[in-house]
Symmetry: C2
Subunit: 519 residues, 2 copies
Amino acid sequence: MSDDQGRKRSRAGGRAGNQARAGTAVIDQMPWRIPVLPDAPVEPLDAEGVQRVHSTAMRILKEIGIEMLNPEACEILKQAGCKVSGTNVKMDEDFVMEMVRKAPSQFTITPRNPEREIILGGRHMVFVNVSSPPNAWDLERGKRSGDFETFKEFMKLTQYFNCIHIAGGYPVEPIDIHPSVRHLDCLFEKLTLTDKVCHAYSLGAERVEDVMEMVRLAGGLSHDEFEAKPRMYTNINSVSPLKHDYPMLDGAMRLARRRQPVVVTPFTLAGAMAPVTMSGAVALSLAEALSAIALLQYISPGCPVAIGTFTSNVDMKSGAPAFGTPEYMRATQMTGQLVRFYGVPQRSSGVCAANVPDGQSMWETCNSLWAAVQAGSNMVYHAAGWLEGGLIASPEKFVMDCEVLQMIQRYCEPQTFATGDDDLAFDAIREVGAGGHYFGCQHTQDRYQTAFYSPFLADWRNYEAWHQDGAVWTAERAHRMYKQILADFTPPPIEGDRLEALTRFVAQRKQEGGAPTDF
Amino acid sequence: MSDDQGRKRSRAGGRAGNQARAGTAVIDQMPWRIPVLPDAPVEPLDAEGVQRVHSTAMRILKEIGIEMLNPEACEILKQAGCKVSGTNVKMDEDFVMEMVRKAPSQFTITPRNPEREIILGGRHMVFVNVSSPPNAWDLERGKRSGDFETFKEFMKLTQYFNCIHIAGGYPVEPIDIHPSVRHLDCLFEKLTLTDKVCHAYSLGAERVEDVMEMVRLAGGLSHDEFEAKPRMYTNINSVSPLKHDYPMLDGAMRLARRRQPVVVTPFTLAGAMAPVTMSGAVALSLAEALSAIALLQYISPGCPVAIGTFTSNVDMKSGAPAFGTPEYMRATQMTGQLVRFYGVPQRSSGVCAANVPDGQSMWETCNSLWAAVQAGSNMVYHAAGWLEGGLIASPEKFVMDCEVLQMIQRYCEPQTFATGDDDLAFDAIREVGAGGHYFGCQHTQDRYQTAFYSPFLADWRNYEAWHQDGAVWTAERAHRMYKQILADFTPPPIEGDRLEALTRFVAQRKQEGGAPTDF
């Protein structure tokens, strides 16, 4: 692989390593940090409302049941005392709640670089790159199918931006790599181009096992060390309404048994695969999530899990999915309340329906990101780079979204609303008096460098200065920026023996044929 | 005036009148309504923090005092027991709080069309058009100085969109009209092209009196009827730090004496005319606002007032003002808490620093609009059409912002998070079961037409459909839409005698020379 030289050069750290850790100088970004939300979440439901949504979810699981298209899962739940009839599994509230209570309310995930450890739970919030679009779009090349080169570009952006905490799923599906070995090539790139927390798709036993093994090798861990704490995670989606398919449950159980986190995220579009009413869609979504979590906690009590929400609605005229709508915001907030009630970490998303990184894309994305914040989300998927309802990943949008994510990080800093004597600044107000200005006073001089959020993409110059400099709109500025970031990118260091082990593993598994495919 | 025909034709109502009231068919917009925020506001400060900001504001007024460049105001406050030394006025907490407590916590403003009455206070929220930019910008004509034709265009947009509740200041300054008569021409257009609540600039006695008289004539009111309740309002800005100028105080006192509302909005950019620390900037802003309100309540006890916030920060590298930043959001929320503490309605804004209606403009505007919502703002100024830190009004941005405002209206509807049996939809969930879909079920059929927010500008089609239809980005779509709205615009009906009285008054005042000018 042509990139190997760069990786080997940088493994000793040094200037290149430091640069990679701090973010290179293309932009002046905020340092790595995990924001902690200081605000009380926005809670549209009162206590009775929470109870009513919960009771509906419980009734769904008890009276209607859920399809589990995985014989092993059905067998286990039968042993656990659930009513299993064919693939239909019914469980009662006592069982579900007993199982959910075993789950930790907070846990860490430690990637190969321990400085990139993340916390999931409490008031912590982490951001994940865009995951799983089949296509890419940028200003120069337009829309096209995902490929391996583009996959790598997004991995570099994921690593570059300090406000992205997790290298989630594939930012684009690299269709030029055969599906039998795609996960091997993708994870090799992900584990060497980034040093952040990784994700495994639950798409078959071999893929899940391969990814766990690669994360273990990249971390230089023994099998016991790997299982001693969360090192990576998977995210599974139910097939709404009320169905969990085989590979998702299989992958989830494999991770749970090795104490690796599972995020369960039903994809319930109100009016299509969920009721047209939002609280009904949320109740359905929670029933689906809780059923999987109950299974995992029965198998591996206390294993780390989280509940995700992906409840939005369709446009009833066209059937098109809508994102970042008022209904989406309320569903996210309601789910936040219920997930706090269940006491596990919660996941939401930064999403939009727009096709290009224009005004619409930003109002929809801002709506969904602020809903995530207001809901008290612990993990925000697709936080940078998502377009067209998840069918497109865009590097311009990635850069634009990172500006918003940085502002959310800054918003969470207590400095922005501190009321110490120095903050209230009475002495400075007396010193400046009436009609003066604060530029020159000591109170300002002592603080001006860190007093305010400093953007890397927003252009705050007046119209004339902006116009004289080419009148460049945001998407075009983001385009230039992403290209410069890629041109200057230095991969994070990785120890030579780990890189060797990874390389050997990929070669061996490719020789064995990789994972079986259906076609 | 060439438009008179249209106005007279429409005064009888009928189809044209109904269309104007409901919004014409160019877009399918939401009906007129005043949103009521169901959420608890976001409150970054704890009780002690609120007390500390309040105490600092009180200390500023007691120990530093404020410049009141209006001899009448100084004389009145001297009589009220304040320490007045030249133009410096010092007031103590007991006096300020005694006066503030006289102010109503909520009031209505009734324009010439009583169906457009607005409520200011409580959990009600109203949106005001962009006000006071000197320039206009649109995709076709670029940036140019404001003129009367453009002023009228914005008045039509203001009237057209049901989510705009108030026709605030001049959306652009019409510099082709001589300042001595500008207010006469502008108010004539405002009062005939719209039937919404109007505003008077406090820029000299004659202008203020003329506008009050024109609002009275347009409403067909006696002098007693005019003063019986709020019919219009003014907004005054202090000259921060710590100065109120002559005409602002003069205009405010004139309105207060006739029981018309005064919004006091200090413009405190942290790091420039306010401390570099946000709570200090908020305390300064509140001191300035409260001093004016104390004056007005002393003159006219119980007169309607509101406190506005316009606290943001400058970019410390360039001195450029920043809007929609994390610091801006926190300042807005903190001010919201303090204004609730004082028990009067609060005003905030929808603002950005972007020069064109691109991605940046929308993330900055969304940040400021969501901060307004979270702060529990009752009146959101510049809610549609603002660019370049208030130096540009843009029709495209106006249309784009109205989409966001409609979403905020929808977000406030309790239907989005209702948990009645019909909302929780257990029966529908049982009926559809596992693997089915909800498109066809009766529960969906009964609700699909009103279940979700329906956008007028957002394009939710997939990329291919959008691309085949010309691949039009948001700003360009908004451009086409605003032109169609203007082309199809029908002014609201106005009774012939009122129109005649207005016309006569304008002609007479022009003959008298209008208002004196300084140049």
